[in-house]
């Protein structure tokens, strides 16, 4: 991992198309601004990790797994 130290209003370039700017540092929170081409998706890591985990768990199912939707009614 590349580690850089920045102050408020300083930026980092990733490639020539992605710019990350430190907008504000307040206590434990850092506000980060990101400029990137429209085709680059940007998400909080926790969301990405949750989705990855759900995907991995989903593939553990075997072919005999599904109850009918009707069986889910009370």
């Amino acid at each position: 991992m590349l580690v850089l130290t920045r102050k408020t209003d300083q930026s980092i370039m990733i490639g020539s198309d992605i710019e990350i700017t430190i907008l504000e540092v307040r206590g434990e929170q850092v506000r980060v601004g990101i400029r990137a081409p429209k085709d680059v998706s940007i998400h909080r890591k926790e969301v990405f990790d949750q989705i990855r985990e759900a995907n991995v768990t989903a593939t553990e199912a075997q072919a005999d797994s599904f109850p009918a939707l009707e069986d889910l009614r009370d």
Binding site: S41, I51, E53, N55, A58, A61, A63, F66, P67, L72
Partner: protein
């Protein structure tokens, strides 16, 4: 008279044995599925025509398949907001027809408590047959939306 045979792709799957898939049925996810980025070609298998559940089978890795369901089957008002960049990538506008699948997690010990990932649905352009696992912009959706609870809301 010329007979045209649709080229087929063969795949050895762990759940369903060897399958032959007509090329025009293949769905391509150029970015793969999150956590499975190398799996870009898929086919939707209907194992039971009476059931809305399907399997999204990877043609790149026969062991990889995801149980999926179109969310309208249990949640008619699911209309996820997709970011402009995702819509653009898929060649979709707000009004274009789209095929949406939610990946379903079926707990082996209690299948009735199965959940659907409504935060990260698979959105497919039905004309190009290209798709993507998108992260919807409405953050109140979760990766584990209880299907049983949703169905019993209607009743």
């Amino acid at each position: 008279m010329t007979t045209v045979t649709m080229p087929k792709v063969n795949c050895k799957t762990t759940r369903f044995g060897a399958i032959d898939v007509a090329e025009d049925l293949i769905i391509t996810l150029p970015e793969g599925i999150i956590g499975f980025e190398d799996c870009t070609r898929f086919v939707v298998l209907h194992v039971d025509d009476k059931s809305p559940f399907r399997w999204l089978q990877s043609l790149d890795d026969g062991a990889v398949a995801f149980p999926v369901i179109e969310p309208w089957n249990f949640k008619a008002d699911y209309s996820p907001s997709i970011s402009d960049s995702d819509a653009g990538r898929l060649g979709l506008t707000a009004d274009s027809p789209k095929l949406v699948f939610a990946i379903v997690t079926v707990p082996r010990k209690n299948p009735r408590s199965m959940t659907a990932n409504l935060l990260g649905p698979l959105v497919i352009n039905p004309i190009t047959r290209q798709g993507k696992q998108v992260i919807v912009t409405d953050e109140h959706y979760t990766t584990r939306h209880s299907i049983m609870e949703e169905i019993n809301k209607k009743a």
